[in-house]
Structure formats: C-alpha cells, structure tokens
C-alpha cells in the first residue's frame, strides 16, 4: 500500500459535520461519518476546494513553519510570482524580494526565472514533435493528480517536465553551493506557496524520487511579516531577473501565451478543468496543441493560501509585468538539461473503481443501480455522502446503511407505526387488566 501525504487536513474540533465540503470535492473523497468529515487519502488531490468552501474553517492546509529555517545554515526563498500580486501599490518586484531577505533568507531565487526556462523547454519539445497532442501542462499539481485518478487515458498527454519550482530549487541550490562552498545538506530551499497542492507536491512528488525543495511556506503565513519588512526597507537590492513570460505564469493563460503558438486553450477552476479533460478524452478537442489547466479560478492567484482576491492580484501582476523585458532567462543551446525533465512518467492510479475485479465491480454496479431507486434523488447529503448515487455506492461497499438516509428511515418508522396501530385494534387473548378473562 502506498503511503499518502496530504497538505489538506481536517481540524475535527471545528468541523460541525455540515455537507458543504462533501458536495464540493471533485473526486468525491469526503464523507461525513459520526458528525465529522473524513477524507479518503487515496482519492484526495489537495486541490483545496474544501478549504475554500468550509464556513467553519475546519479544513486546513499543512505547510512549513518559518521555524524550519533554523535547521539550515543557509536559506533560500523561492517566491511564486503570485506573491507579487498580493501587495497594493507595488511598482517594483525588488521590494518584495529584498523584504524576503530582511526576513532572514540569505538568498532569493524567483520561481519565474525557472518558469521562463520551462517555457523554452516546452517550446523545444513541442517543436521536436515528440509529445502526444494535445500536450497538457504539468504545472498545477492538483490537475496532475486529478488526471492520475480520473483520466487514465490522458496520463501520456501530460508534459513530462518538472515544475518551475523544482527547476528553480535545483538552480538556486547549485548557485548557493558555488557561492558559499557549503555542502548541500546545509542549504535550505523554501517555496512561498499559494496553494496546498504544492506542499503535497514537495512531500510526495510526481515524476521524480525526491523534491529539491525543503519546505513550503504559505503566502498567507509570510504576508504579515513580509509586508512589515517591506514598509521599513532602507535600500532596495536589485534581485529581480525575470520577464513578462515568467511572471505571467501566476495567472491562467500565462504559461500558454509563453509558447508563442496560438493553438492552445487555458481553463481554470476545477469544474471547468474537468469539463475540458472530458472533452479531450472524447477527442472533441482536436485542433489544439497545448492545454493549460489550473485547478483554481484565475490560476495560481486563486490559490487558497493567497490573501488577495484573485482578480485584484491578476490586475496588479498585469501592471507589474508591463515594463519588463519579454524574457530574461534562456537555455544555453543544445538539448534540454536532464535536470528539468521528469525521471519517470505519470501512472494511472485506479482508486475510483468499485473493485479491482471486473466481475465483482459489475455485480456491485447492478446492486447500486437497484438500491439507488430507493433513495429520493435529492442529493441532500444528510447521509454523509455527496449524492444519492454515491450513497448507494457506499451502502454496497459496506460503509453505510440504507437507514442512514433520512427518507428511508422515515419510511421505515411509518411502517413500524402502522404495524403498531394495527396491532392495537387486533383481538387480544391476553387477560384484561382487571384480571377477568376475555370471553
């Protein structure tokens, strides 16, 4: 059995057992059991939809604490370009980067620098014609995990390149080693993340054995201290070294625009992503070369660990990008460096099927079809399952009883009540209360 790591977790004390999260989950991974939400680890893709919807803030993302910096002699911050969109009236990215150094980082390496290299590598791979079309971006870890559990036929369409975060970490650590002479284990690399899926992507990466990133700090966690530092800067260091292409990765459409090829689409928001994947699977999207998908509305700026409204952040990033060069980072001719490529391909993980045995799965589906007829089809969620159909599955799989449905329960109560009242009017041969026998 594979061990699962998830950033998305439940704080039981705050969970009231409402139905908001179970209905929102794109892989039907959540049930309410015993008045609390339970997440099936094999199905969760860490998209963060449940965190977004939970009115009681019972769903949380685990991320790295700033304390962890103490474990290393030398620390590098890897800010996602999304971070730049969180600040009002920002006209120079170097304020943010210098602020990060003031927080205790020895070095800051923009993830957008690596993004420009990933864009160039993608263009090269696509030009070489070796990739299965349409090529699906591998940048959003929640989307890659969604494909892994729900779209078996599309695993080979996913771009086999490491994310800008990984490439940035590899480059930054190499630079730091050259600059300081320190061994690799003394250098810490921390991604400043907009979402929990990236936290998971570091702990349990896809396409490689081990991530080069040592931790992920939430934008929301870093924000208060960082904005304070930014307000009290004495001098601004010239650190920023990326262009329109790299910074553009923060918003939906940025990655595909960087391919300089019009045959692409960019979809964002998990429901839209699913719809597009369904259509690719049915070969209804034939004329496109590249598909950019982001689980969050607006792209990474919509991540649940951001502090600013995604559309405000997007507008700010557009303004910030305006006077930047197109791109400031380029591959040195020749083949794509192997450190940028996936070490292993994406493999389908069959966690949604009813049974590993087809015959048994078919028997189960017949039972599910039958049992589903007994439920009202309201999808109320009071049973703890997201829909009546999912509930029928849970009954057949053995996780629920039919009477967990309030409508079935009420029907049974009514039956019991009418049986009881019928009994009351029936002739009775027992002695009457005053001791006299009937007849």
């Amino acid at each position: 059995m594979v061990e699962f790591y998830h950033s998305v977790t439940l704080n039981e004390a705050q969970c009231v057992g409402c139905t908001n999260c179970i209905k929102r989950c794109p892989t039907e991974a959540i049930r309410v059991r015993g008045g609390k939400a339970v997440i099936a680890p094999e199905r969760c893709i860490d998209c963060g939809e449940c965190i977004r919807i939970c009115p009681h803030h019972a769903k949380r993302a685990r991320f790295t604490s700033l304390e962890r910096l103490k474990d290393f002699k030398y620390n590098i911050a890897l800010p996602a370009p999304t971070l730049y969109g969180q600040f009002n009236n920002l006209d120079d990215i170097d304020y943010v980067l210098t602020g990060l150094k003031e927080m205790g980082f020895h070095k800051v390496f923009e993830v957008s620098r690596a993004a420009e290299l990933v864009s160039e590598a993608t263009r090269k791979l696509m030009d070489a014609g070796k990739l299965k079309r349409p090529v699906i971006s591998s940048a959003c870890p929640a989307v890659v995990r969604l494909i892994r559990v729900r779209f078996p036929d599309l695993v080979d369409n996913v771009l086999p390149l490491k994310s800008p975060m990984e490439t940035a970490a590899t480059m930054a650590k190499r630079e730091a080693q050259e600059e300081t002479g320190l061994p690799l284990e003394d250098i810490g690399c921390f991604f400043i993340t907009p979402c929990p899926a990236k936290v998971t992507d570091i702990k349990a990466p896809i396409g490689m054995e081990k991530s080069m990133v040592d931790g992920a700090l939430a934008i929301s966690d870093v924000f208060p201290m960082l904005s304070h530092k930014m307000d009290h800067l004495e001098a601004i260091e010239p650190i920023a070294n990326s262009g329109i292409i790299g910074v553009g990765w923060a918003t939906s459409g940025g990655e595909s625009a960087a391919l300089l090829n019009e045959k692409y689409l960019a979809a964002d928001g998990i429901e839209n992503v699913i719809r597009v994947l369904e259509e690719i699977e049915d070969e209804r999207i034939g004329e496109l070369d590249f598909i950019e998908l982001n689980a969050c509305a607006g792209g990474c700026v919509g991540g649940v660990l951001c502090v600013e409204n995604p559309y405000v952040a997007k507008a700010r990033i557009q303004r910030l990008r305006k006077y930047l060069p197109v791109s400031q980072n380029h591959l040195q001719g020749g083949p794509i460096p192997s450190l940028m490529e996936w070490e292993s391909g994406l493999e389908f993980s069959n966690v949604m099927s009813l049974s590993a045995d087809l015959q048994e799965a078919m028997m189960m589906m017949m039972q599910i079809d039958e049992i589903e007829q007994e439920f009202p089809g309201l999808d109320c969620g009071a049973c703890g399952s997201p829909t009546c159909r999912a509930f029928a599955e849970d009954v057949v799989k053995g996780g629920s009883r039919k009477t967990d449905c309030v409508f079935v329960y009420r029907k049974q109560l009514q039956q019991v009540a009418s049986t009881l009242s019928a009994l009351e009017s029936a002739p009775c041969v027992l002695p009457q209360e005053d001791g006299q026998e009937k007849n």
Partner: protein, 142 residues
C-alpha cells in the same frame, strides 16, 4: 443477457444535452475499472452516434450492454434514414445543416470515426423509417 444493461432516451430537441448518454456510459465504465483504451473507444464512438441522432434524426434511444469481454451499443432512431449508407461512411461526406456546422459538427467524420474506434459496426437504415447502428467494442483489441 448481459451483466449490465443501460438504457437512455436521447432527446432530439435539446442540442445542449447531446453527449449526456455517452458521458454517463464513460463514467460507469470508469467506475467498473474497465480497460482505459476500451473506455476511450466506447466514449468516442457512442458520442459520435449520439450526436448523429440529435442532428439528423430528432433523437432516439440508446441501449448499452456491458460484459467483461465486450461493450455492445445499439443506437436506434426513427429519423429520415440514410439513403446511401456506403456514401455516408466516406470521410468528409455530410448532410448536416449550416447551423450545426457552425457549432463545429457536421465534418462528415461521424460514421467513419465510429467504424474506426469499434471492433464491429453495422448500420441498418431505411429511408422514412429510421436508422439502427450496432457497435461492439472489445477490450484489448485494436
């Protein structure tokens, strides 16, 4: 008698609902853990057939029988029928009206694609009576 028998009414008056039946079949096959390539072929072939019923025949009925070794699809309509089946099977030949073509359909690839993705495809059609398309997909083939 197949293990799993599914039946769908495909409404002909609502174009926005076209693809629902094939979508449901695909979803069910996935939950069964059916072979991914067979799922893909069923999804594409049945979608094409379903769209055809909506565009040309004012809807119809779909029955799908799922067994471990085959998916059997029958699409039946009471539309105008196909005058020349062999012509309709040619790539690029279409009688779809302009309003349908403007939505990206009607490229004349429907029937050829259905044939390409299935292991068996038969068409029975009579002008003025209707059309029945029978398709079989075997997992592990093609």
């Amino acid at each position: 008698m197949s293990m799993l028998h599914l039946h769908y009414d495909v409404p002909g008056d609502d174009f926005t609902r076209a693809g629902e039946a094939s979508g449901d079949v695909k979803h069910k096959l996935k939950r069964l853990g059916y072979e991914p390539d067979a799922i893909r072929r069923v999804a594409i072939a049945m979608y094409e057939g379903e769209i055809n019923m909506v565009i040309h025949a004012g809807g119809g009925e779909a029955t799908v029988d799922i067994d471990p070794d085959k998916v059997d699809i029958v699409l039946q309509d009471h539309g105008p029928g196909i005058a020349d089946v062999s012509k309709a099977m040619q790539a690029g030949w279409s009688t779809a009206p302009d309003n349908v073509r403007s939505l990206g359909f009607g490229a004349g690839m429907g029937l050829p694609n259905m044939k390409k993705y299935t292991d068996l495809m038969e068409i029975e059609s009579q002008v003025g009576v209707g059309t029945t398309v029978h398709m079989v997909v075997n997992p592990g083939k093609k």
